[in-house]
Assembly symmetry: C2
């Protein structure tokens, strides 16, 4: 059994700093992670917006070790562990579970396209059987516009039937509310916890019985997003949602990951956070200027960063 | 300088056997590879049809070591080394180059979609700079229907200008003859060697100045494909092409990778070759029966396997 409480609330795919020095990289990741935790946002490290797949397996494990050495709580951790090669997914998942994480967020193998539900079921089943740890909790990661490998409702049903308790929930990043809504209706009552893929659907997800969201912009706007999660039943919830949407729209005008990193670099005073790994490119100086102007126009700040 | 001759002819993305025993897996890979070499087909190990991305980095290096220990010639070797994480691509490429391969076949990082040519240029550039070995020869791997990350003509032009000699050619698996033809016209005269992505376009590619093909069905029909490569200027070339197309069409009626593995299993007498890794699934027994019947109807054989 995983003795951590079930995960809920707001999580962020924490941006991964890149420097030439392992210790400095880890220290920067720890610093940003602590800031997020301080704003009541959990750590979905090694997500899409963390450039997880630009990290080698050993790099991911080193960074997770560093976070735990720094004392981050396992019950606020949902690291991404899904790779193309099941051997890698097994290694990362075992390592994360041994650290006591609340759950792992698992992409399906994403190189082959048009694979069958049988094949995806076999993929998750093999990871579960090989990890063979009763503490394992898997959150499925549905992000078809990037992975190009969707997780269907039929697949969820089969996985839940075969591995109740282990299959703990999903992040739905499809942006397709009809899909999120169908999952909330069919599976949330069975204890399959549905996280919206961004704060865009946070309020709608909470109203339909879901448990929170996992969102890129949690890296830059954690406090306000976490506040809506806590107060979604208050009369100002729709107004809060509109505010969140407006800030997100500002970031969406730029390539998201470089823009998040640029914002953290600018507001933390550590320019090192802006580095990305190819094939991503950092914002150019005009984009930086435009982003800063747009954020200032909104009186945006990152208090305590 | 890479002292191997420039690569040309027919290569096959060698199917990767999967067993629970590393030595047995390696022995089966060596056995099939030797059979291919004996039919004049080179080894594009760790390609799409090799399930390369279902292998961990260490597994790929172990298998390449085993092939070299078994005495396969470097000048018939074009291993795939392109991963999502550049650190992995660098490690695999260094290892392959140190073994003396004729070239490496390199996917672009394929997790993020819609990335810029700047980002892809930076990806290849970073691998080249970090490998930092004058023996490095890169064949770009254009397979947009799977990777979802195309390699544009503009990107090839930039890479060729920046890294002449290192950027050695391409495998065009797009199935879009207009694209292959444009590359043959614009870049082949500069010594950028164009391989068709399958034997479907072998004759057309040779007639337009290309250097061969890299093809999945090379695993099962190597002799006939290599013969067309050697004799494409003979009067029966179109008839040969038609024969190749007909056999390929038989395999295309099934999921390609499981069908190739099933055929090798059936005709080698070693059922172990049929194993695939999730998310792929092996042929079911009806598909096996149908494939065998279709191959027998064509009087198909794999002499010497």
């Amino acid at each position: 059994m995983n003795t951590n409480p079930r995960l809920s609330g707001v999580f962020s795919p924490v941006i991964t700093p890149y420097t030439d020095d392992r210790r400095q990289t880890a220290a920067m990741l720890v610093r940003h992670s602590r800031w997020l935790l301080g704003q009541d946002v959990g750590l979905a490290v090694f997500g899409t917006n963390s450039e997880a797949n630009s990290l080698a397996v050993a790099e991911r494990m080193h960074l997770l070790d560093a976070l735990f050495e720094a004392g981050v709580p396992g019950d606020r951790m949902m690291p991404g562990t899904g790779c193309c090669a099941l051997a890698d997914s097994v290694e990362l998942t075992r390592h994360a579970v041994a650290h006591g994480v609340g759950g792992v967020l698992m992409l399906p193998p994403f190189f082959y396209k048009g694979v069958s539900d049988d094949g995806l079921f076999a993929s998750y089943a093999e990871v579960i059987e090989r990890v063979a740890d009763p503490r394992l909790r898997i959150y499925l990661y549905h992000i078809p516009q990037v992975s190009q490998v969707p997780i269907s409702l039929a697949l969820i049903e089969r996985l839940l039937a075969a591995y109740p308790g282990v299959i703990a929930g999903i992040k739905d990043s499809s942006g397709d509310w009809a899909n999120t809504s169908a999952m909330l209706e069919r599976f949330q009552p069975q204890g399959f916890d549905v996280f919206a893929g961004s704060e865009t659907y946070l309020l709608a997800t909470m109203r339909a019985g879901g448990v929170g969201c996992i969102t890129a912009t949690g890296n830059v706007n954690p406090g306000a997003i976490a506040r809506l999660y806590r107060t979604w039943q208050q009369p100002d919830a729709d107004a809060q949602q509109a505010e969140l949407d407006a800030l997100r729209a500002t970031f969406m005008k730029f390539p998201m990951i470089p823009a998040l990193k640029a914002a953290v670099a600018m507001f933390s005073g550590d320019a090192g956070y802006a580095a990305v790994r190819p094939p991503l490119m950092r914002l150019d100086s005009q984009q930086n200027t435009d982003l800063l102007a747009a954020l200032r126009a909104r009186e945006f700040s990152m208090p305590g960063l």
